[in-house]
């Protein structure tokens, strides 16, 4: 009986080896890595930053990887087809870089258990599906310090896309950063209900400027808010990419996303077979979030303060959502001496004190 069990175990081990072997059979050759983008690459914005990351990874792992990207893939059924086609045509590691790709990626991941999938900004993982995103809010906090120091009207304008926790987190972190240097700050938010509509983004930015905002920032994809700020002679804080060429006078600084290290690390782990399904959430510490394109108009002491805070966040001594944090009604949501947990951060659905208006429900 005992020998029977041993045989079964031995057989299972062999099967597992075989499976592992078939998984990594392609690894001898170059690893083929596919990317699915939601918009054209262009030269600024969400997808542009992902593509920069892809290029850095390709350079870091020269000779070991081969990459391909497919741009402007609509979320939904079309995405599933594109991801499946990539998996079928020999791509062993596939990055899908928009929230709406979550369910299609999960579905295809189940169809191809031997391939690796990584989805950006989602929350669903599987045995062969990991997620990754950046702590965008850390950069927002730093940008808030710059805005809070540079505003004269104490009114900051925020052009926002959709009321989801990621966007709300950014608004709150920005507000807290600004209030840390200027307690009188008010942040006005306008929702355009679109990730990408330059016309609406411009109209919203213009409305904010008319209502007294003299620093404009945005959580939308086009360069229109920065262009509008430049045209109207106010300041702007760019998001995703350095947009100083669109607003050389307007842009105070830009909160940029940097995926190069994340992509390199993940591809390497597939190459050396150490890949695990993880939920990666990198920030300033890992160099995933940076402030770039600092305007010469920002005084040296402000730049030094931002740098000091940046170091503090990187070392962990400063947390953007460090207690006491109050919501709009004055209720303490993070007690003094505590900081917010990742779980609380991920589910954020209220404004902090200093933001005007209400979150659309």
């Amino acid at each position: 009986m005992k020998s029977m069990t041993q045989h079964v175990v031995a057989g299972l081990v062999c099967l597992a080896c075989l499976a592992a072997f078939s998984l990594s059979a392609v690894a001898g050759d170059k690893l083929k890595v596919g990317f699915v983008y939601v918009s054209p690459v262009g030269d600024a914005g969400w997808t542009y930053q992902h593509d920069q990351g892809r290029q850095i990874m390709e350079k870091n792992l020269a000779g070991q990887v081969e990459t391909k990207f497919i741009e402007s893939v609509p979320e939904g059924a079309e995405a599933e087809r594109v991801i499946r086609d990539l998996a079928k045509s020999g791509y062993d590691l596939i990055f899908t870089t928009s929230f709406g790709y979550m369910n299609p990626t999960l579905k295809v991941a189940k169809m191809f258990p031997g391939k690796y999938f990584e989805h950006s900004t989602g929350y669903k993982t599987a045995k062969n599906l990991g997620t990754y995103m950046c702590r965008y809010y850390e950069g927002r906090y730093l940008a808030g310090i710059v805005a809070g120091k540079m505003t004269k009207s104490n009114t900051l304008g925020y052009v926002a896309a959709f009321p989801i926790p990621e966007v709300i987190r950014g608004i709150n972190a920005y507000t807290l950063g600004a209030k840390s240097v200027n307690p009188d700050i008010k942040v006005k938010v306008i929702w355009v209900n679109s990730w990408f509509d330059p016309g609406k983004e411009r109209e919203a930015a213009e409305a904010l400027i008319t209502q007294g905002a003299d620093v404009i920032t945005h959580h939308t994809d086009s360069t229109a808010p920065v262009l509008t700020a430049e045209e109207k002679g106010v300041y702007a804080i760019a998001y995703h990419s350095d947009m100083s060429k669109y607003g050389p006078k307007a842009q105070l600084t830009a909160v940029t996303h940097n995926y190069g290290d994340i992509y390199t690390k993940i591809a390497k782990s597939v190459l050396d077979k150490s890949w695990k399904s993880e939920a990666i959430w990198n920030g300033i510490k890992e160099g995933a979030i940076k402030l770039e394109g600092m305007n010469a108009a920002v005084p040296g002491d402000v730049v030094a303060l931002v740098e000091k805070t940046r170091k503090g966040i990187a070392e962990g001594s400063i947390h953007p959502f460090q207690g006491p944090v109050k919501d709009q009604s004055g209720k303490v949501v993070v007690a003094a001496g505590k900081s917010m947990s990742d779980k609380e951060l991920l589910g954020m659905n209220y404004y902090v004190e200093g933001v005007q208006g209400n979150i659309p429900k």
């Binding site: 006005k188 209900n193 990408f196 008319t210 262009l227 659309p360 429900k361």
Partner: protein, 309 residues
């Protein structure tokens, strides 16, 4: 709300409404001849990228306008060949033109994605622009906005005060009768379709060169469809088309201000408001069945076969 805010919203409304004025007036003329071209969105996009490239290469606004209009007209010519010469279905051909225009503009714009232009400066008219209230309200726009007003006057005058305009409307009502009188129905419809394309192209140029001077794929973002709807809800009358365009622009701007003031209305509802309000207002002012019948071209959307007469 203080006066300067109201003034600001009105000024911004005119700028926001101008792309609709161009595209909808063009479509109005096309539809008055009895042809329904649903390709406005596509023609606007191709006009936008062509004008954008011309502006980026030459820096000349005139060249941008001319090439954007030519590109819009070229798109309309494709539609004309399909529906007027080959007698294809107008609805299907128009939809196809939009899809084609979206793809073509994205392709033409490959090297220009997120490329920014300096924009078009507002005209400063000595004395007039400095007048209080009237100055900003009437004399603070760029040259394209003024040309949209000039084109509005020209289109209204043409349709209702000239013989050629009467003929165009007649062809839209009863192409067989016009044909029997010896007029070249197909030829005149071609001209109307080309004019509609050129105007849609100009609307696109305004968006990509003046309003948000940056090229991004799909930047017309549904404004072509809104223009089409404006023509119908304004019962094919130029003044109402223009009023509807400014109303739509005005409510779009006003709802952003409402949000900025933190007034408690869900932003999703506010985003709908320009569409709902414009439809309601235009339907209410044009609710008389008699005037609808008088103004809507009787042969709209119907394929015309001259040899069957």
């Amino acid at each position: 709300m203080d006066l300067s805010l109201v003034l600001h919203i009105m000024v911004a409304a005119v700028a926001a409404g101008t792309p609709f004025v161009f595209a909808a007036l063009g479509e109005l003329v096309t539809e008055k001849s009895g042809v329904l071209n649903l390709g406005v969105e596509g023609m606007m996009l191709v006009g936008a990228i062509t004008g954008f490239i011309a502006m980026a290469k030459s820096g000349s606004l005139l060249l941008a306008v001319v090439s954007g209009m030519a590109a819009g007209a070229a798109m309309a010519a494709v539609f004309g060949v399909l529906t007027l010469t080959l007698m294809a279905n107008q609805v299907a051909s128009g939809l196809a033109l939009t899809i084609f225009g979206m793809g073509l503009s994205a392709f033409l714009g490959l090297d220009y994605t997120s490329f920014a232009l300096p924009g078009v400066a507002e005209l400063h008219l000595p004395l007039l622009s400095d007048l209080p209230v009237i100055g900003p309200l009437l004399f603070s726009y760029d040259v394209l906005v003024y040309s949209s007003v000039v084109l509005f006057v020209a289109v209204s005058w043409f349709l209702y005060k000239t013989r050629a305009g009467l003929l165009l409307r007649g062809i839209g009502e009863a192409p067989e009768s016009a044909h029997a009188l010896g007029y070249n129905v197909i030829g005149i419809r071609y001209l109307a379709v080309l004019f509609g394309g050129a105007m849609a192209g100009l609307g696109g140029v305004y968006l990509s060169v003046a309003y948000t001077p940056v090229w991004v794929e799909g930047m017309v973002a549904g404004r072509g469809w809104v223009s089409l709807a404006l023509v119908v809800f304004a019962t094919w009358r130029p003044l109402r088309v223009m009023a509807g365009a400014y109303l739509f622009g005005g409510i779009t701007i006003a709802q952003f201000h409402v949000q900025g003031f933190g007034i408690e209305i869900p932003s999703q509802l506010l985003s709908m408001l320009p569409y709902i309000a414009t439809i309601i207002v235009l339907v209410v002012i044009s609710r008389d069945q008699q005037t609808i019948r008088l103004n809507s071209p009787a042969s709209l959307g119907k394929t015309y076969h001259p040899e069957n007469q």
